[in-house]
């Protein structure tokens, strides 16, 4: 069982390249998604703050 898992993870000897490629993609795209979400949340709270300041509801 563990032999099977470690053989799979070894990826025929190319583990570093294959897991590296998927890791880079995950970090870059995941980081972008996280940053996009944070920008969106920040834009909403900034707008809310301004609208409260001017006394208009959303």
């Amino acid at each position: 069982m563990t032999g099977e898992v470690s053989r799979y993870l070894a990826m025929g000897g190319y583990a570093a390249f294959i897991w590296g490629a998927y890791g880079v993609a995950l970090i870059v795209l995941g980081g972008l998604a996280w940053q996009s979400w944070r920008r969106y949340r920040a834009s909403i709270s900034a707008l809310d703050r301004l609208q409260r300041e001017f006394g208009t509801g959303r």
């Binding site: 993609a25 972008l32 920040a42 834009s43 301004l50 609208q51």
Partner: protein
């Protein structure tokens, strides 16, 4: 007509409904795609397991080209019709395109090292994709170099349109020059020349990337519209009317020129 279909208030309404749907389906399709790409798909008879890198590399390359096309088209619309939503769409898509281009270059490098014996070669395909990456970075830098968002967007639009000349070079570089990079095997005359067991994960990952792009682009566009609305409120120091009608005031104040339309 464009302003009828692409007005910011309507965009906010439609994207609010589409965003969760798009995000969750992107997550679902990408998870399934990853499973098929990493577990189900067979190793290649020549490349062995490294063929799995292709399931990220090729869809990322398609997204890099497709998103640039989108940025250029939106820039063209923004320049000709001065439509604020078009420049916001271009500005929202560019960082996503840059990210996909980076993923394409990095995964290609990680494949090239074991298969070609080199992290990088100055081959026409690799070099033109590197230029594509720099075009994205140049566009992003230019758009953000101005205090007034629409001035930056206009300067960026010109760069985006000029950069379109690079797209056919990327696509046809493998045919025009004798490159180390292999020629097209999916998008080619005469149909795909790739086994179905490898085509399925490739198309699943591509669909997942496309959905991810749509979700992230909507997120960035909604954020940019909120930011512009906040900027307008701060500049005017008057309360904007309650949304969604408030987005109407984002339209440029200059008179619209509608010659013969």
């Amino acid at each position: 007509m464009i302003s009828r279909f692409a007005n910011p208030a309507r965009f906010m309404r439609i994207s609010a409904a589409a965003l969760p749907w798009c995000s969750w389906s992107a997550l679902a399709v990408l998870s399934a795609g990853l499973y098929v790409a990493l577990v189900v798909a067979p190793p290649d008879y020549q490349q062995g397991e490294t063929v799995r890198i292709m399931y990220v590399h090729v869809p990322a390359a398609w997204m890099a080209l497709g998103i640039y096309m989108f940025v250029a088209l939106a820039s063209g619309v923004a320049l000709v019709w001065r439509h604020p939503l078009a420049e916001i769409a271009a500005g929202a898509a560019a960082p996503i395109g840059a990210a996909f281009t980076f993923v394409c270059l990095a995964t290609g490098s990680l494949w090239g090292r074991p298969m070609w014996g080199a992290w990088w070669v100055w081959d026409a395909r690799l070099t033109s994709v590197l230029i594509l990456f720099f075009l994205y970075l140049g566009y992003i830098a230019l758009v953000n170099a101005f205090d007034e968002p629409s001035r930056g967007a206009r300067a960026g639009s010109v760069l985006a349109l000029v950069g379109v000349v690079n797209l056919p070079i990327v696509k046809f570089s493998v045919d025009w020059w004798n490159t180390l990079h292999q020629p097209a095997s999916v998008v080619r005359l005469g149909g795909p020349r790739i086994d179905i067991a490898m085509l399925v994960p490739l198309l699943m990952m591509s669909t997942g990337f496309l959905l991810l792009f749509l979700a992230l682009a909507m997120l960035h566009m909604r954020a940019a519209l909120n930011e512009r609305k906040a900027l307008a409120m701060r500049l005017n120091r008057v309360p904007a009317p309650a949304s969604p009608a408030g987005f109407e005031r984002l339209a440029p104040a200059r008179p619209a020129v509608r010659g013969g339309a």
